[in-house]
Amino acid sequence: MRCLKITVSAVLTATILCLGAGKAAPAADELTIMATGGAWQAAQRQAWFEPFAKKTGVKVNEQEYLGDLGKIKAMVETGNVPVDLVTVETATVLQGCDAGILQRLDYAKIADRTKFLPGTALDCGVGLDVYGDVLAYDTTVLKDPPTSVLDIFDTKRFPGKRGMRKFPAQNLEWALMADGVPTADIYKVLATPAGVDRAFKKLDTIKKDVVWWDAGAQPPQLLASHEVVMTTAWNGRIQNAVEQDNKPFAIVWKDQIVEYDMISIPKGTKNSDLAYKYLAYISEPEVAAQLGRFIPYGPVRSDATSFVPKDVLPKLPTAPDHMKSYLVGDVEFWGDQGEELVKRFNAWLAQ
């Protein structure tokens, strides 16, 4: 009797295993795209995945991951790459490119490389959208509103905790800007050891007042709970909080740092041609502009701006009003110095 029960459970286990193993390999006209989930992936689905599937008859499979390249490296090393396209951050593209796990792209199959904004057509990744690293605050808390992102360094006028991303990029640039370095010279100064010291010294002045955030979900939450008086944030999340949840938040655009989301092809995928077809599709100016309808991020081609709906345009980081004083994140610089600066930043945090 007991033996029987256990035999039955063994058979069940075997069935489960067989079910798994018996899964058919994806057909040739299927494209698997891996993104980081949430509202951003939903926006891509509406703006790009579904229209692409409709237009070409290709079935688009979606997958989620946590934005970590470790998974892609494991795939490439085992030669088992079930994903054709993957959305990544700029810093991640640079790491993945150097590590040889992302394909070097052939722009002849995508679009005219010169039509992209500088820093959005990388060797291993094509820009998907433009977002801004901005300062956000609660208008009911700060009656005397900050006027520049750099006000985060002013603890006299704005006492209390402030949120910053637990990452050296952007923070070091802002520290130098606040310390009086002209925007044009930021990366020149940051490339020298003295410049890095100077940036960290500036950050030292507010270190005890900073709450460090990790996930993009945290800044609006930190504001909503009054844990901080102001925080650096990605513009999209703050705008969603204002529009969908009627939160009394405001964005300070002056001295924003403009950043890009990217999409890449992992090395060793079997559907490379289809992946290129998708990249070419979303790089068409009219198509590229569609994303802004679902999430307030701008297109990476200047010739796509004219296709962005008129009511969306003023919300984008690239709106003329927001581009009076800004810095573009230097991809080359972070590709070169990123690893050391991250290490130093972590050591600095731990002290």
Partner: protein, 276 residues
């Protein structure tokens, strides 16, 4: 708990202090679990009190969308599969290890608990490198096996602790009385070590049910689990839907446990009426 039918004042005080302390511990244990319940009825999408308003929109998201339903189903399949496999294998191993004659126990034991110590990201990479080439990545079986590796140390340790008080002479007595080992195990040993086995099973369950890193590596869209659904949105927003999911799971578990308890109580009473 009392040492004598006529407790002294000192004993009463000691027991009073014990009760008070335990009440505080229970409050500490349960309060954070109560927080998500009102938040799950929040009409806004932030984790703050006071609530923006009452609404069931997050329950509609969880119960009404295919993605969340599938995620809950996948999580339960994988968690129960892992629990069954890890409990069976872990209990066997613990019984073997508890034998004073087990060869090389000093080497085997650290090996058995090493999945707890190796950082989960490293385990996940290792699992992918093992399962992908043999075609078990993106399958329920592969994820269940990978989770079994993570969960089995809990069963080995808790069952091992329970066995420390087990008198092996009972098994010899059963054998001498003619019981086959299987019968002796189920009738003599298992009832005595059951609390340990069940604790191990509970740990195995939660290890799998709450695991996101290995799943991220091994799962394709078809095996998307609840934790993966929760974590992937974290880049933009911690969706209150996860509080609704948590509330549903807790309610479900309370109902299940109460029913199980009632059934167990009834069978206990029946046993008393008609002793075997």
């Amino acid at each position: 708990m009392l040492l004598s039918p006529f407790p002294t004042l000192g004993e009463r005080i000691r027991i009073g202090v014990l009760w008070a302390w335990c009440a505080l511990v229970l409050i500490y244990l349960v309060t954070p679990l109560l927080v998500p319940i009102p938040l799950s009825f929040n009409s806004g999408s932030f984790f703050t009190f006071p609530l923006a308003g009452l609404s069931t929109r997050w329950y509609e998201v969880v119960l009404g969308t295919e993605r969340w339903r599938a995620a809950i189903g996948n999580s339960l399949i994988i968690a129960f599969g892992t629990t069954a496999l890890a409990t069976a294998l872990g209990t066997l191993a613990a019984i073997g290890l508890s034998s004073p004659r087990f060869p090389g126990r000093r080497i085997v034991m650290p090996l058995l608990i090493s999945p707890l110590v190796v950082p989960i990201v490293v385990t996940a990479v290792g699992a992918y490198r093992f399962y992908a080439p043999i075609g078990l990545a993106s399958t329920y079986g592969g994820i269940i096996l990978a989770h079994t590796v993570l969960a089995s140390p809990f069963v080995v340790v808790t069952v091992g602790a329970s066995l420390s008080g087990f008198d092996r002479n009972l098994m010899r007595a059963a054998a001498v009385l003619g019981a086959r080992p299987a019968l002796a195990f189920f009738r003599v040993m298992l009832p005595l070590i059951l609390p340990g086995v069940l604790s191990g099973a509970a740990f195995a369950f939660v290890t799998s049910f709450d695991e996101v890193v290995v799943v991220q590596f091994l799962a394709s869209a078809d095996q998307r689990t609840l934790p993966l659904e929760m974590f992937t949105g974290l880049r933009e927003q911690l969706s209150p839907a996860i509080t609704a999911a948590a509330t549903l799971m807790m309610t479900l578990s309370i109902v299940l446990l109460v029913v199980a308890n009632l059934l167990a109580g009834r069978s206990r009473r029946r046993m008393r009426v008609a002793p075997a």
